[in-house]
């Protein structure tokens, strides 16, 4: 097993250039821009955002929902590797754990910014209100993030710096850490199945209750949807697995050829395709149930208003029905398509579809909200314009995601098998 990583190079003229430093500095600019925004946010409070009492949740919540959804592959592959005991998927499972951690930590970061009192972020952990779905979401995020950190530990600790490494001579303390790292890895590997079960439970609970966070708000018409929790779970599995496939091809096939068989990657694509098709099927039934088999004046008014100001129905039929259906079929036939280029491009569709789903779901009930007039119940249209601070914070968390991922892809080995197994 060789640990060598092939660095992808860009051809500029005749020279081959390693784009990594340039890519990192681009992300650095984004991070600095984001920090300026964060400074203004923490100094002046949420008044610097475009949020209002009518639209209290905006761009950040959409980012939060999307990043959690795109981290959904972690629980899927945790279960595959540790519960179904498919060791073939161990390497790709490690990448999934990393993506899960990144998704959840991004969400935590952006949620912290979104609080009116950021210093009280620990309140839900101490002051329990188990009736609240948001409490459940918060507790699950906190606990699952802990699980993910523990699962992530061996992935970081297997980095070459913890085995015989030239840096040991310069920093002798590394030599002392190395055996501790070995012990930690050993024990984490032992409790792996427990972590996987715990992670899957927490993550399933939490993805479902994110949907339920909206769907229990029975006063909001379009949000009161029985199948939203199920849809949230499956769209997280679909988008998360599709993203895992894209990044898996990049991390394993391009940078670490030989670590993962092509067959395994094809299977990841097929899994993404299967879940995407299932999700599309669910979504079409959900559409039929709420628009065809039943009539709700509020929902039809809301849909009509949303269509007036945005391509709402179009985004459903294209972005959430047609594209995922095509992507699902193509990904399911991954072994027939055989072109990784094509499969990666197609796998972007479920990812985008997941983001569109979250975006639409968050804004549909806020932009077209119901009023309380008892005689002529109407739906009111609210407006929301994100300010530059919101974009800056969004840029910050997205750049954080890419920076962490790039560093991991470059420096972590993602070994296929444990040394002592």
């Amino acid at each position: 097993m060789d640990n060598s990583i092939i660095i992808p190079k860009l051809r500029i003229g005749r020279r081959m250039v390693d784009p990594f430093p340039y890519w990192l500095s681009l992300l650095g600019i984004g991070l600095i821009f984001g920090m300026v925004g964060i400074f203004f946010l923490f100094r002046d409070g949420l008044q610097v955002t475009g949020l209002s009492n009518r639209v209290p949740w905006g761009l950040w919540i959409s980012i939060d929902l999307s990043s959690i959804a795109l981290g959904g592959s972690a629980f899927v592959f945790g279960a595959i590797v540790y519960i179904l005991q498919m060791k073939r998927y161990e390497a790709i499972g490690k990448l999934a754990v990393l993506l899960g951690f990144l998704g959840y930590s991004t969400a935590g970061l952006v949620l912290l910014m979104d609080l009116g009192q950021p210093l009280r972020f620990w309140h839900p952990v101490v002051f329990w209100q188990p009736h609240s779905l948001l409490w459940e979401v918060t507790m699950c995020v906190v606990l699952y993030l802990t699980v993910l950190v523990i699962e992530l530990l061996p992935i970081i600790l297997e980095a070459p710096i913890f085995e015989k490494h030239p840096l040991w001579e310069e920093f002798p303390f590394l030599e002392k850490i190395a055996p501790i790292a070995k012990t930690v890895m050993h024990y984490v590997h032992k409790i792996g199945p427990i972590l996987a079960v715990l992670g899957m439970t927490l993550s399933l609970l939490h993805q479902a209750s994110l949907g339920a966070t909206y769907s229990v708000l029975y006063g909001r018409g379009i949000w009161f949807n029985q199948s939203a929790p199920t849809q949230f779970v499956f769209s997280a599995m679909s988008g998360g697995t599709a993203l895992l496939f894209i990044l898996g091809v990049f991390v394993f096939r391009v940078m670490r050829p030989g670590t993962v068989e092509d067959k395994v990657l094809y299977n990841v694509a097929r899994l993404a395709g299967a879940v995407t098709l299932l999700l599309t099927y669910l979504k079409l039934w959900d559409w039929a149930v709420s628009n065809y088999y039943s009539f709700n004046e509020q929902i039809s008014l809301q849909t009509e208003l949303l269509n007036n100001v945005a391509p709402y129905s179009l985004s459903f039929w294209l972005g959430q029905a047609l594209f995922p259906a095509i992507a699902g079929i193509v990904l399911l036939m991954a072994e027939k398509v055989k072109s990784f280029k094509m499969l990666m491009a197609i796998a972007v569709l479920p990812v985008v579809s997941t983001i569109i789903t979250r975006w639409n779901y968050n804004f549909s009930g806020l932009i077209a909200s119901t009023t309380y007039d008892p005689f002529t119940p109407i739906v009111r249209l609210n407006s929301y314009t994100p300010t530059w601070v919101e974009f800056a914070v969004g840029t910050f968390v997205i750049c954080y995601w890419w920076t962490a991922f790039s560093l991991a892809a470059r420096f972590l080995p993602f070994k296929a098998h444990q040394a002592h197994h």
């Binding site: 091809v249 030989g258 491009a345 932009i367 994100p386 974009f391």
Partner: protein, 265 residues
């Protein structure tokens, strides 16, 4: 020896405590309710300025006339609201101030009928009338439609206000209008019998001299506000999305297959 030291220390302590207590009890007395206005002013500064410029201030109707002390003890009340009901606080004097029974007038008026109080229109400390945001005079707070009509009237153009007719020169709080109200100004109307003869002129009077605000355009504006909701994203986000889609398409069309298949041995 130790006994002596303890005694001295105890004495010093007693004297010190006594000195600490003395000035404290002194100030407590000084800040007591016996000193009206100045004593109150030490803490309650908000109401002082409006009061001092008011009729009450000019006529030495001090704080304690309206704000009662605690019954029995005569001390500063511990609870917040020390003003009795309006029927005691205001009406007790205003049945006969400068010979007019304002309280009685209010009671006889339409305002009194629906149970309006003095403080509905008058700020109690300055006694000036309350103005809501956007109101020009106190009547405008509630009678918005009437105010709009009045603003387009000949009377308004001539510089008259609600109170010119409804209160008259004696500022009656009944707010009632009688035959004498019009006659006060239009003395010659009946004498010249012009009401019958000059219908055209009356028509001219009822036509508004000041053009009223176009209500149609207002509702239209409200309507358009309802229509222009939604999320407005800056144009660069769309450009960014376009670049990303373009890059992916270009790569799919012209890029090369990512990575080389290599089986582990």
């Amino acid at each position: 020896m130790t006994k002596k030291i303890t005694l001295t220390l105890a004495l010093i302590a007693i004297v010190a405590v006594a000195f600490m207590l003395l000035p404290a009890s002194g100030t407590a007395q000084a800040a007591g309710p016996s000193q009206d206005v100045e004593g109150c002013l030490e803490c309650h500064s908000t109401a002082y300025t409006p009061w001092s410029q008011s009729n009450h201030g000019a006529n030495n109707i001090t704080c304690l006339v309206c704000h009662k002390l605690s019954p029995g003890t005569g001390q500063h009340p511990t609870l917040k609201y020390t003003v009795e009901d309006e029927s005691i606080t205001c009406v007790v004097c205003h049945t006969n101030v400068a010979g007019t029974n304002v309280a009685g007038q209010v009671e006889a008026s339409k305002h009194g009928e629906v149970g309006m109080k003095c403080i509905t229109c008058h700020e109690p400390h300055s006694q000036s009338s309350i103005l809501a945001s956007g109101s020009k005079i106190v009547c405008d707070n509630c009678h918005k439609n009437e105010m709009k009509e009045a603003e387009s009237s000949t009377h308004h153009a001539a510089g008259l206000n609600c109170i010119n007719c409804h209160m008259g020169e004696e500022r009656s709080h009944t707010l009632k209008i009688g035959p004498e109200t019009c006659g006060g100004c239009h003395e010659d109307i009946h004498a010249a019998n012009r009401i019958l003869s000059s219908g055209a002129k009356v028509q001219a009077i009822t036509t508004p001299m000041v053009k009223p605000e176009n209500t149609a355009s207002e509702t239209e504006a409200e309507h358009s506000e309802v229509k222009t909701g939604g999320i407005s994203l800056p144009s660069w986000t769309l450009i960014f999305a376009g670049i990303v889609i373009g890059a992916i398409t270009t790569w799919v069309l012209f890029g090369k297959e990512p990575g080389q298949p290599k089986r582990p041995n």
